[in-house]
Structures are given as C-alpha cells and as structure tokens.
Homo-oligomer: 180 residues x 2
C-alpha cells in the first residue's frame, strides 16, 4: 500500500469516526470507532493499512490489549500470518502469567499475558485501537519484554496527540493511521 | 469447505486447545483457546471454518460478545464482508444502547449493544468462542431482536454440551466447530 492509498483510507476513517461529547465523563470527547467496524469495506482497508507497513518485517507475534484492541489485532495477526496474543485484565487468563501494573488518572490497574505466549518470538507488534495517554500501551511493551519478547513497533488506528502517549512509548516505533 | 476439511480442522483444534484444571475455580476444566490463536495457520482455518457455512446466506451483520468473542467475530465479519457489531458490558459503549440482563450462577449481569447498530440489517450472525450455559448467547439474541434485527444463527468454536447451552438457544440455529 502506498502513502496516497493510506492517506485516502485515513481520510475515510476520519469522516466515519463518530464524536461523542462528554463520554465517559463531562468534558471528554470520545472517538467512537464502531461506525468504522460497521462498514466492512472500510474495516478491511483499515486492517490492511495497519498491517501493511509490517509485511516482511519478521513480525511473528501480534499482541493486543483487551478488549477493543482484539477487534483490530486479530485480523492484523491473520493478515501478517503471526501468532495472536491477548493481553487481559488480571485473573482472566487461565495459565501462568506475567503481570504489569500501570498508573491511571486515579489509582492503578494491571494487565497480564500468558508467560509462555512469546516463546520463540522474533518480532512483536503491539496493536490497539487508540493511543491516548499511552499507559496501557507502555505497560504492554513492558509485558512483552518481561515475557522475553522484543517490541518491533506499536500500531494504532487513532492517536490522540494532546494526551502525549507517544512520549510514554519513547524509544519504540509508534504508527497511527490517523491523529487528532 | 467440505465436511472432511471441516472435520480435519476440528481435530486439529481439539489437539491444540489446552485443558486447564480448576480454572476459574476448583472443579472446572477450562478449555484454553490461546494455543489456537497462537498458531496463525490454524487460526486462519478456524476462522474460515466458522464463516464458510454462512457464505451467500445474506449475513449483513456479525454480532460478537466482549471480549474473547471479538477475537473470532472480527475476522469472521471481514471474511463475510459483514458489519462487525460489538456487544459489551454495561457503560462501555458511548452512544445510545439497548440492554439485556441475564442470570449467572449467582446473581445477574447485563450486556449492551448500540441501539442503531443493526439499522438496515438483514441476516445477523452471533459469534462467540465458547457456548457454555448459553446465558450470554441467549441474551445477545434478545439484544439483536430488541435492536430490530433477526438472528440467522449463532456460531461457536467450542460447545460444552454438558452445560446445556443449546437448549437456551431453542429455535435458533447453533453451529459449533467442536463439541466436548
């Protein structure tokens, strides 16, 4: 996919994302991706646009973050013929896990990945729908390292630049299809 | 895909699913699908095996249940060129929703779908990873009707027949790739 094609897909995503004011709380403008998912032709193009920079880059594992990340990560993994690895909230993965805590606006949360999920991994691509503050993406990158993997890049459909997530991923390549 | 091919894929899934005793609590044998997702060739075949009975059946929308259902539902929606519609826990979808409560072993839970998600829907396919007691799948079917849609069928990777989920979906076609 060339950069003109990618730009055309980005434009269509921008026109299709639905802005919801005051969600999940007053003053927040939520970027609702469900209209993109509801358009099969656009969803397919978005998936290819996210995956295509990583074709023939040695990606063996796609790691995605519960739960909206799964919607993009699973098709991207299939497109790249890579293993799909879910990162989940604590207590939901049944086998032995590694765990990372991370800071929220108020308090902390944690993510887990199966400890054996990256056995034999060469290149790991982290996929999520939105890069906001970068807290969950950074925690996921640390999880990957803890499980013995190496993050090749993080890929997002949407980046909310004002929230500074890219800075929290310093040193890691981060690709976004569209940026607000 | 013919029935021999489907049976071969089912056999490979059966050999690949990892049994985890006593998860999430003592006495429960958990069928862990993550080794299937970690095998890109098998994951791709599973996705096609789930989707192929519904090719050219007029499926316009694939409805999937948070969060493991998203992992199968999103690729199946892309394969069928159908809209992908997420069903989520309460409070997570940003626009106006319809809601269904359902009974758990102890207490109740609820699911939501965007109220406008099935606008123009003809055939709806409900996709989830596992059919267990059928509570969430039955609630999802009711959500579909409440939003003005019609369930064509439910499709699962795994059915745990002893838990009787199929009976709760009475009147609705239910396809499972493998049955324990």
């Amino acid at each position: 996919m060339n950069s003109d094609e990618r730009a055309a897909i980005a434009d269509e995503v921008r026109r299709t994302v639905r802005d919801i004011p005051d969600f999940p709380k007053p003053g927040i403008l939520f970027r609702d991706i469900t209209p993109v998912l509801a358009n099969p032709s656009l969803f397919g193009k978005v998936m290819v646009a996210i995956a295509s920079p990583f074709e023939r880059q040695g990606i063996t594992h796609v790691v995605s973050i519960e739960s909206r990340g799964f919607i993009l990560g699973a098709p991207v993994a299939l497109e790249l013929r890579a293993a799909f690895v879910p990162v989940r909230k604590p207590g939901r993965l049944p086998s032995a896990t590694v765990r990372e805590d991370y800071t929220l606006e108020y308090g902390t949360d944690a993510l887990e990945m199966h400890a054996d999920a990256l056995r034999g991994a060469k290149g790991v691509l982290v996929v999520d729908d939105v890069l906001a503050t970068g807290g969950t993406a950074a925690a996921t990158c640390r999880l990957v390292e803890r499980a013995g993997g190496k993050v090749f890049a993080c890929a997002f459909m949407i980046e909310l630049a004002a929230l500074g997530g890219r800075a929290r991923l310093a040193g890691t390549r981060a690709d976004s299809l569209i940026t607000y």
